[in-house]
Amino acid sequence: MVRRVAILGGGTGGTVLANDLADRLAAEIDAGDVEVTLINDDPDHVYKPVWLYVPFGQREPADGRRPLRELVDSRVDLVVDRVTAIDTDGKELSLRDGPGPLAYDRLVVATGSTLAPAEVPGLAEGGHDYYSESGALALREELLSMTEGHLVLSVVGTPHMCPAAPLEFAFMADDWFRERGLREDVEITYTYPINRVHGNPHVSEWAEPIMAERGVGVETFFNAESVDPEAGTIASMEGTELDYDLLVGIPPHRGVDVVEEAGLGDRGWVDVDKRTLEADRADGVYAIGDAATTGVPKAGSVAHYQAGVVARRIASEVRDRPATATYDGKTLCFIETGMDSASFVEFDYENPPSPAPASEKLHWSKLAYNESYWLTARGLL
């Protein structure tokens, strides 16, 4: 019998799921038959896509933060605490500050990604990023003071959050320096670990001509091995070394330790069935969003769609019916191609992406969605 649902992580996936269940199971929750608990170690919900715009002075980190309490349905028990252990046999969670173990019948792991720059020597000291609030703010200072030199955007680790964001940053930086009359004095080089500029061949095929047209240099098969902050160089395991004046690195990513310690998967990612989103290594556990190894991008849209699937599955289980909802790999991304144009892709497990022609309208659509995202978090959009 499924009565207690625990959601671990209050990012996009966890928050959308909590609100979806609160709506879907309102009658059962009101009758006291079901409890939905959302556990997050930060009282705020953070919308990470805002960070891309911070280095260019267009947004502030605060624009991407809102108190979870304002976003989550009152039928959800919100617990601001940190889970220190997951016991998948005993089906309970240990909390850092809480009074005792939290028992569950269904656990949904939505713990997202963390950054691991220390995995590449020198990267934390020599590189900047826009994959964190502090990183985006520090990068803004660097960009504002840069009037000439070599900007290297290096995708160091994959998988990483928002696979389109490195392309977006390169296109936006090109446009931003161009608008400021500095582009001729700022060389931009983009590096990627494999033999193209993006993991998806269709997206890569679309992006490469744009990079060539904009004069963005490309180094493929570049797996960063070390950074020398003193010398201002980044070296790859393939033997290439680049000098930089400003290094923007996409650091290696990991999930969270508590997931790995629970034996749910490697590097803190949960091994799941890519359609049912059920954990391979434990009963009664689902994973969604970045935490789930489905092979699709670590993107907000994925977490959003997967949350809907798991909500339907759990509602079926609560009502003692077979769970039939499955995830089809649906992913949706806007891709900025400059400061005032963007493209758009939509794909799934069966249908590859086909980027739309870049337009100002799509750019404004992306910005408009970023504003209306808060309706998504509340389960309304």
């Binding site: 994959t158 033999n195 993991g199 797996n223 395991m237 393939e238 033997g239 092979g295």
Partner: protein, 80 residues
């Protein structure tokens, strides 16, 4: 049945992973391997056929053999 007679030091099972997952999984394992180790990458993604061989060509590692006998591929890479 494969007639490849190579005993891998380590196996990376990337079956089910979309590109560039298999190649990135291989690169990650090669990073932590020792010279002379043989890493076997299992992949069911056709793109791996070009991705893996092109990457190995860029490095000093060797692609000893590719097992294409079943629905999936096995890439034997010796670490330089």
């Amino acid at each position: 049945m494969t007639d490849i007679d190579i005993e891998p030091t380590d196996t990376v099972d990337a079956r089910g992973a979309a590109c560039p997952g298999p190649l990135m999984d291989l690169i990650g394992r090669v990073r932590s391997a020792s010279p002379g180790d043989v890493v076997l990458l299992l992949s069911d993604n056709d793109q791996s056929l070009t991705d893996v061989s092109e990457w190995v060509d860029e490095t000093d590692n060797d692609l000893l053999a590719v097992d294409e006998t079943g629905d999936e591929y096995g890439f034997y890479v010796e670490v330089a």
